[in-house]
Symmetry: C3
Subunit: 461 residues, 3 copies
């Protein structure tokens, strides 16, 4: 969106002010990229290398010395070499005593070693102050200045002053340091860049499973049944008709699953009479991925809208409408406008539009930059009040849509009810329970419990 002027920033000139010197061990990609950025930001950089010669790739302005000489020149030494080679530092233990060693390494797999690289380094050189940092930043991003992915640099270490020094460098490079506590956090920090959407795993697996189930369910009801019973080949239903039956079903069920854990938590709290006992683990995990569940639901709703809007363009639909008109004409018959069906059709469409609109609004407020600019009261208002309104509208949309078919025998093919009936189970349960919980006789004690009141208090101040 913007061109960062630092991309093309000039190297620092000779200035009167004394610049801090930082040593970098290792002249690989990352070490060089970091050196490049540091020189831009006014640091003096010396490389520690086995052969003290200047390669063409070393950024201009950086010196290349032996490891010992480099270490003597700087208070902060960045260890930009792989963990396997850390033991070459052992002979340097004396010169590294009291220095700040910055471990920037990453592993190839989650929990590759029992001990984090930074802790291993701290064990090797006990006299040094080890700080973990910079492992979340890529060399390419540093060099090109296009820090599209995270600018956050997680920093941890046991020595507070050493950590502060490293965080100052992070800030000077235009990145955002985040203090993660002691070196015990290093394992977490080293695992972070290896993660692939960990919070999304459950919602996506769940929706894949449900989607597969509903696909086969619809396949049986809508393609195989007519083929067996009427010898009609409607296999082309798979592309759109069935997809447009799965998407709204998934959207509604997932949206209801966003609000189900809150309702369960309320019941548990009411039953236990306190908020100070932990929820079961599965409920905790479920509550933490509600946002992701909601966004997957929104994705399905978005697909449902697109699938619905292109209905009139489908050649099958055009053919069906035309053949109905033609049959009317040939039978010399003009159907009058059915006011009830006009009402039903218009109101389920209107409910769907309003529901989708609120759903999109919920999605927008869950964008990090938007949710960061609202306070807690506003955030809860949107996610809870507007969220329930969305759920009510979407459930009503489905109810009105399917209303008249509930009682038709033709809706049950091979005793299988239509998919939209299945989709209504969870949302209706959530709405009914929530409706019950809103009654004062339950709402009042719940509010008191959430303010810290306990039925059987365990401690008091």
């Amino acid at each position: 969106m913007t061109s960062n002027p630092s991309n093309v920033m000039a190297l620092t000139s000779n200035t009167s002010s004394k610049k801090e010197t930082v040593a970098i061990f290792g002249t690989g990609d990352f070490g060089r990229a970091l050196a490049h950025k540091m020189i831009q930001s006014g640091y003096a950089v010396v490389f520690g290398s086995r052969q003290a010669q200047i390669s063409s790739l070393i950024p201009k302005g950086a010196e290349v010395l032996s490891h010992t000489e480099a270490a003597q020149k700087a208070a902060i030494i960045i260890i930009a070499i792989p963990r396997q080679h850390y033991n070459f530092l052992l002979p340097l233990a004396e010169v590294l005593h009291g220095k700040v060693l910055v471990d920037v390494s990453n592993n190839l797999k989650l929990n590759q070693y029992p001990q984090s690289n930074a802790e291993y380094l701290a064990e090797l050189i006990p006299g040094a102050k080890v700080v973990k940092a910079f492992n979340t930043v890529s060399a390419w991003a540093l060099q090109s200045g296009t820090l599209d992915a995270s600018r956050q640099v997680f920093v941890c270490g046991d020595d507070k002053k050493a950590k502060q020094m490293v965080m100052d460098i992070v800030r000077a490079l235009g990145l955002t340091p985040l203090d993660q506590g002691s070196l015990l956090a290093a394992q977490e920090i080293e695992n972070y860049p290896l993660q692939l959407f960990p919070m999304w795993k459950f919602p996506i697996l769940l929706s894949l499973g449900l989607t597969a189930f509903f696909f086969f369910y619809c396949l049986i009801r809508d393609v195989i049944y007519p083929y067996v019973n009427e010898k009609k080949d409607v296999s082309f239903f798979i592309a759109i008709s069935i997809a447009n039956r799965i998407c709204p079903t998934m959207a509604l069920i997932l949206l209801a699953l966003v609000y189900l854990p809150g309702v369960l938590a309320a019941i548990i709290q009411l039953y236990r009479g306190t908020k100070y006992s932990r929820f079961p683990d599965w409920l905790d995990k479920w509550m933490l991925c509600r946002k992701q569940l909601g966004l997957v639901a929104l994705a399905f709703a978005f697909l449902h809208v697109l699938y619905t809007l292109i209905i009139p363009i489908r050649s099958y639909v055009r053919w069906r409408i035309n053949s109905r008109v033609i049959s009317q004409v040939l039978n010399n018959r003009t159907d009058p406008l059915d006011n009830t069906s006009a009402w039903l059709s218009d109101s389920y469409l209107a409910l769907g539009i309003l529901g989708f609109f609120l759903f999109v609004l919920l999605g927008i407020t869950s964008l990090p930059s938007v949710s960061n600019s609202v306070n807690w009261r506003e955030f809860r208002f949107v996610q809870s009040k507007l969220g329930y309104l969305t759920l009510i509208l979407c459930t009503a949309h489905t109810l009105v849509y399917g209303g008249k078919w509930f009682l038709y025998a033709s809706s049950y093919r091979w005793y299988l009810p239509s998919v939209y009936m299945l989709s209504l189970i969870v949302p209706c349960i959530v709405l009914v329970v929530k409706f019950v919980l809103v009654f004062p006789c339950l709402d009042k004690p719940l509010t008191r419990i959430r303010q810290g009141w306990e039925r059987n208090p365990q401690y008091s101040e």
Copy 2:
């Protein structure tokens, strides 16, 4: 979107470095959550409590002492107790002398007390340095690590050093401190978490009022009039037809209202010959909520698009089209293609699409993270140039749509003009005045005034 590694971060280990000690008075939810987070970030925490016993809820690693002992151990004391109990601090005044007291309290209502809690605290313990902070953060968010709502911590206080110390803690916890000046700002800061979209109040009330007005207007014209005059029951128009008349009207009027204050301000500046006299209050307020007005307008435009796109799916529309075809056939008549109406229909649709596209673009650039990454020139280009283009396209869309009906007598039912005629009044005024203001004879003096020139200068440097 991402899992913050700090959620599962390890508690700090015994380290050689000396950790700063922070005292917390009050072992309620918030005090404990704050302690938990601080211990993670490497602080030593002591609780000051009436009974010096360790409750199971106190985070591991925290000591519980008497208030006096706790206060003696730390330079910074966090007062995590309700305002009503502040007076219990009076006997501690001596030991609190010179300490930094952090007021984290919130009230239940806006301006509940004439004096902010922090100022009251400063008055109680005049020897202490009171800093207001952390009141915008929720205990639940601190503990679960899901800081979806604001990470911003507003900080204020009269002592700059004390403020700096507190802001360092805020930063260490991974939050963003925002210095708000002296303790006089505490009232504002305490009101902040109680606000519910204060900037949105006026735009939303305005649009609710206008929506209600247009709803009844349309109800009379489109439902009651045909019922009275032709005994036709078209009450189902309410769900979609009328909604789709209100939405575009609202979108256009609100969009024009975004640009009206700018035009008024230009006229006032031209008339007064200076930019250094304040605008009337209502104009100032109006200008500050232009973004919100624009976003509400975009919401209406979005609804209008959805309502329009589902038109061909409505059973009423299908019936109308079919019955027209059938009547043509029965009368053995084939209407030829009317080139003019094809042009009109296509061009008003095209204008609407382009207008909506630019409108969405404007909406995207007003997302905080996007508007933060453009410079002022770019922001003004988008919001002013693209904004006016959007207004022109949307007005043209409405003009072309309704063009041919302006002169038909049938457009006036009970002397009420159609809604789209009403919707054109404000946008046309804005565009005409803006067009006049673009002429050099007015544009040149206006530009000079905006650069600081005054017709009757009051002062000169």
Copy 3:
């Protein structure tokens, strides 16, 4: 979205703590706005002015002194006067010795002077420490508190301590300082606020050029050809039919152009056997504007979706469908459902919907706040894996759509192939080459090269 409490923040009270004093030379708009904000944040402000009188516009709490007196009172002096008047500082050189001078000036044109204003200032007063800052912030934004556009303040200077002092002030005002290195960076920083979407220039010019080309191409094929050959006036095709042919074409070509440079880079790296030689300049530039190209492509795809969805509302389309029905009826003929064409129509619509859905997902993840909250592995997964899937789906959508027409002679009017055939050239090339590159015999060496392996190593550690 939020009301910043600082808008209405109270001025600082008399406090016991000593406040830092900042001098501001120049009482123009920007100087006053800065003073206003600084006083709010607890600084003492003195203005240096030629006439030491208090104008009504000077914020309350600020003193107005002579330049010399003001300079003596403060360690930091903000030079808020235009560059042309800098030479009036010459007589003050002695009193300015050792002071931090903050250059906040902007120019009217890019590279207006051969030397940046800050460097010119440093040359004029060699004894002072010049720091460039605040030029990206507008006076209006400072005063109204609505910092919608960038809160980033680029800071550069040769003296590290001076820079640090200025960055502390920036932070205290609630803005984000970004250290850009030495004073050599000042030129870049002064150019920054004058830029108008520099990264977007190439993508937008390219798409304008291609759009114009395709417009005339379609005009000839779809409007002029039928007019010449069949005397049919279908000029109204311009508004929607042709627009809806250009938009998908542009979207597909631009999307392919996002992935073409990556494929070219891979070929170059394989050919050279190293990643350490620079790419040609055009390729570097191309790679840096891939995000912008992709977003322009998404805009065209969005327009294509809107143009497609309103098809059934167009009066021309309604007329065409109706006349087809009528002709069927009059000929007493009922066309049976063509299963193949139902499959084709449904599957190209489904492919289009899925492709657009993924495209929107890509767009959302390129929002700054979203891309900031994912790690590199996740970012690359989305932009590369999902991106290629999008390209495959969109190409398949076009192929299925046009499939049956490829061989019809009627598709070639005046030997001109249909536009969608042209649109397929680039995407098909990209996909074929990418497919070849995925084979292990090429993928393995490429991966090794990207990890730093060189066929003919130039240096080794």
